[in-house]
């Protein structure tokens, strides 16, 4: 198909290029919100799309997550054994439903992941206050499907990592400098659709419920 490539480039290169005024391109969107305001806006946006938001701190977040698991009647919880949060939960395993660690390649346990996992718990890279958004980067510790396949996604967000806008987050966290992961993801609520007569329905393909725990 390099013939197609050559033909396309030949046509594109045959043209005199339009000159473009670029001055407005660099506008950078950011707000001067303090931490409390960022939390307030983030929470408001998340709740508007039917996500649950819980407040916790370093001393009681384990209790909060145990409480959520109990309230949802989870029989199991899928998580990473290697993240800071995953380790702490695993050390207190008795307080939680049966813990499953994402240790094998998906091919080795696809059926269990698809049909038996009740909820997946992940850390987050941070959040965006303007739109009520979580940022997740896939990694060997926390694969993509952890926040995708189970019907409930529980995400822990460190409130020191809340940014006002996506533009600010990308710049402050140095996404370009770090190099992007296989899959960078923004999540702004549970899976939804309005494809049937514009009636909102949740849990089409992704999680039906999104639970955010602010720490």
């Amino acid at each position: 198909m390099s013939k197609a490539r050559a033909a396309i480039f030949e046509r594109l290169n045959a043209v005199e290029r339009p000159v473009v005024e670029v001055s407005e391109r660099e506008d950078f969107s950011v707000f001067a919100w303090d931490k409390a305001e960022k939390i307030r806006r983030f929470t408001e946006r998340m709740q508007a799309v039917r996500a649950e938001v819980h407040q916790a701190d370093r001393s009681n977040w384990l209790d909060k997550i145990a409480e959520i698991c109990q309230q949802k009647g989870l029989t199991n919880l899928l998580l990473s054994l290697t993240t800071e949060w995953g380790q702490a939960i695993s050390q207190n395993a008795a307080r939680f439903p049966s813990l499953k660690h994402y240790e094998r390649s998906i091919e080795d346990w696809k059926e269990e992941l698809f049909y038996q996992a009740d909820a997946g718990l992940t850390s987050t890279l941070g959040g965006i206050a303007e739109t009520g958004t979580l940022m997740l980067w896939s990694s060997p510790d926390e694969p993509r499907t952890l926040s995708l396949v189970p019907p409930i996604h529980i995400a822990i967000l460190d409130t020191d990592k809340l940014y006002t806008t996506f533009a600010e987050a990308v710049q402050e966290q140095g996404w370009l400098e770090q190099g992007l992961p296989t899959n960078a993801l923004l999540i702004s609520g549970p899976s939804r659709s309005a494809d049937i007569a514009q009636v909102l329905a949740y849990g089409v393909h992704g999680p039906k419920e999104l639970v955010v725990v602010l720490v």
């Binding site: 396309i8 046509r11 060997p140 899976s191």
Partner: protein, 471 residues
């Protein structure tokens, strides 16, 4: 003149129930969009920025495509080029054959509609299954999308309930939307579980990082690009974006213009297949870059603006023609104002040239376009292309084929009369004197309107009577 388009339009206008769905849906979408932009100055600034980003891309498209290819390849993504939709289909087929795959599960992709991929694969014994809820529904009914964002918008809840019950008799009849959605989830979960290949479109392809970005609400895009061992993305060559920092402004304006959401549920940025130490994701990722007429559009500095489009559908939602005739009447992949300018340019004026008449030039599409494509101007330009004498000076195919000698002579005569005052004044006075002779039946015009009556005096005469010296 009765053409297929006109027959379809007439049929669509007669379906009052479907028209009511469109009216209600478009009203909701317009209100939702307006609520997202309470500050007009901020909206205009964001539109200018989005326009600058997209126009910039087009000013260096070949370089950026090369950069995109280099970085994607470095990331482990296999890049393919297709001049025509048939070539693109063949590329997808070859990848599937290499893996012995008999089925493909699809996330929402308008370029795959453009390719007619489902039909192409099914003819070769391969099952192509849509997983976007709206696309899934219309596929069950053997239909095509009637809107680029909300493909099943023409169907009522009752129609969808009946359709589900017909196609899946084991599932008890229900018109509860949550239950219908849950059924679709169950059915498609099993399909995702087993699918050997997944397909998606691309909203933005970032040249700087070699990243494919996908905007969606349901998770069909995430599932299609994560679960099957092979992921094939298809997109047009114009979808490239230069820098990662260009993404936040575009992501800010796209969903707000499209559905009036501040952001979609998922924004998925894919920069390569599964790495050695990763536990999921496809082991192979392919990108098919489709031309299909785009590089021809690229050669004209005015028509070029067509390629800025980010496929939000705002022009469609605000179009007084679309809301009345619906998406299917257009007979094209892309309906509404963007289809009106894009389709005749892709396939030639002799195929879809009639669409450029299906506009009142009210200007709403141009006003709401997030990248400021002057759609009404381009419609006018294509109307001109269809009758111009110097057809060699436009890349539009079949230019000049609508030119009629009598019409051309009439306009030439009019031009001469209007710029020769003695003739113009004489003509005006004569017309007022013969005003009684205007027939009541003026063909199509008077079929739904009363015939116009000429004034007793010309405007010049009236102004003179009012004492205006300098007309």
């Amino acid at each position: 003149m009765t053409t297929e388009f006109r027959i379809d339009v007439k049929k669509a206008l007669g379906k009052s129930e479907v028209r009511a769905h469109f009216r209600k849906a478009m009203d909701t979408l317009m209100i939702n969009r307006r609520n997202q932009f309470p500050d007009d100055a901020a909206l205009q600034a964001l539109r200018t920025q989005a326009q600058a980003i997209r126009a910039n891309v087009l000013s260096k498209l070949p370089e950026l495509l090369q950069q995109l290819e280099t970085n994607l390849t470095k990331n482990g993504v296999q890049v393919h080029w297709a001049e025509t939709t048939d070539e693109a289909n063949q590329i997808v087929l070859a990848i599937m054959q290499k893996h012995g795959a008999k089925s493909i599960i699809k996330g929402k992709s308008m370029v795959s509609e453009e390719m007619g991929l489902n039909h192409f694969l099914e003819e070769r014994g391969i099952e192509a299954l849509e997983s976007d809820l709206g696309e899934f529904i219309i596929q069950l009914d053997g239909e095509t999308p009637s809107h680029i964002i909300m493909p099943a918008i023409h169907k009522s809840k009752e129609q969808i309930s009946t359709l589900f019950h017909e196609k899946f008799p084991d599932i008890p009849y229900t018109d509860n939307v949550d239950e219908l959605t849950a059924s679709a989830r169950r059915i498609l979960r099993d399909k995702f579980y087993a699918a050997p290949v997944g397909l998606s479109g691309v909203n933005f392809a970032v040249a700087e990082t070699g990243t494919l970005c996908l905007v969606e609400n349901e998770g069909n895009g995430r599932m299609s690009t994560t679960i099957p061992p092979v992921h094939i993305a298809v997109t047009g060559i114009e979808k490239v974006v230069e820098k990662l920092s260009d993404i936040p402004p575009l992501l800010s304006i796209l969903p707000r213009s499209a559905t009036g959401q501040p952001i979609t549920t998922y924004f998925n940025m894919i920069s390569g297949p599964r790495k050695a130490d990763e536990k999921d994701g496809p082991t192979e990722v392919h990108l098919v870059l489709l031309d299909n007429g785009r590089s021809r559009i690229y050669s004209d500095s005015e028509l070029l603006a067509t390629l800025r489009c980010i496929r939000c559908g705002a022009c469609i939602n605000h179009c007084p023609v679309y809301v009345r005739i619906g998406g299917h009447s257009y007979g094209t992949v892309y309906p509404g104002p963007i289809g009106t300018i894009l389709e005749p340019q892709k396939s030639g004026l002799s195929v879809h040239g009639e669409l450029i008449q299906a506009s009142s030039l009210c200007g709403a599409c141009g006003e709401v376009c997030p990248v400021r494509i002057p759609i009404p101007n381009i419609i006018n330009r294509l109307r001109y292309d269809s009758v111009r004498k110097d057809s060699e000076n436009t890349p539009t195919q079949d230019a000049g084929t609508k030119r009629k000698p009598l019409e051309a002579a009439t306009w030439q005569a009019w031009s001469w009369a209007a710029s020769t005052p003695s003739v113009y004044n004489f003509g005006g006075k004569t017309a007022t004197q013969l005003r009684g002779l205007v027939p009541n039946n003026l063909g199509a015009w008077t079929s739904v309107r009363s015939a116009p009556k000429l004034a007793e005096q010309t405007l010049h005469q009236q102004l003179k009577a009012l004492g205006v010296d300098h007309e």
